[in-house]
Symmetry: C6
Subunit: 78 residues, 6 copies
């Protein structure tokens, strides 16, 4: 199972954009933790990436994770 | 893919309104990260921008991102 | 487009009630940023203001924005 | 319109339970700001108070508002 | 009505697990504040406890309340 | 009932990945607190793990819990 691999060693990244990309990654790993089968995920991805509500819901999860990452990086102010 | 371009170099903006606009941008980039095809996005946008629940959901994501941006800017109090 | 006008110059307001009203305004501007057509918004408003789940969802977005405004105002404790 | 009356002069309350009650009030005022007609609200209330998802959604909004009230009161630790 | 009884005198608990249990209690009181009729609640509980989306929504509300309780207890670090 | 066992003695973990795994655990315990019957859970899990919206909702709950765990660990910066 994916989670046994080392994939999240730090929340600290160089800039907000890398932070946003890490937020996307966390959101996907949250999905993968529930459904580890890549083939099923690929099929489902096609569904929700063509659904307005599915895409908004995905963006919502990213926003929550981006909040965490941004706080961890003290908003890259320093 | 859009994310390879530099589009988010800082969370610091001059005032709350620019912060709100950045929150809108983050919300859209969250969508785009899942569905990068502009033509599909245009078609879906027409759908959810005519749906009360779709618009409320979009406003919710903006609110979460605005929380992050506002904290980053210490609420523009200084 | 509405957002070009100056409508959000500060998050600081005199008391919690004004803060709640500003949270309502932010929630509506989040909707308007996605659907700027006033006539469409009026029509949709009639729909969701008669739907229990639509009203709860609207109240949820207001709650998130009120969190931001309240933090900005240090909860009006001073 | 209800909001013109003074109904929220402070977020500070004596204990967590009063804070929870204030969170309930804020959640209802969020609904009322979108649908001020008491008769419509009464009718809708009957609907969602008999729906599991409606009740969970209502509890979710209360939880968000309780977060705000609790932070305002520094969690009643002092 | 249940809320008149004293049921929430403090957010401070001994350890994270008691905090999680308090978060569950707050989530249920949020539901009960909208639908105080125990018989209706029992019937609805059977519905949503057999629905995947209902259970996820319930877990979401608990997570929000656990955030509040955890902050109140300074994450039980001391 | 599961919650009587000791399963959450601390929110402090060694690194972000263990924090993410704890967030997954909290999300599942939130579900289990409402539906303790393992057989029902197994059946429902098959349903939502094959639903795009169910997986996104699960990832959302994990994101909220990960926020709590990350704050508890001061983002593993030290």
């Amino acid at each position: 199972m994916e989670q046994k691999e080392l994939w999240l060693t730090s929340l600290i990244v160089d800039n907000p954009q890398e932070g946003f990309e890490l937020a996307i990654k966390l959101s996907r790993m949250g999905v993968k933790s529930t459904q580890p089968d890549i083939e099923v995920l690929k099929k489902l991805r096609k569904d929700y990436s063509n659904s307005a509500s599915g895409l908004t819901a995905a963006s919502h999860v990213i926003a929550v994770n981006f909040q965490t990452i941004s706080a961890a990086n003290e908003y890259w102010k320093k």
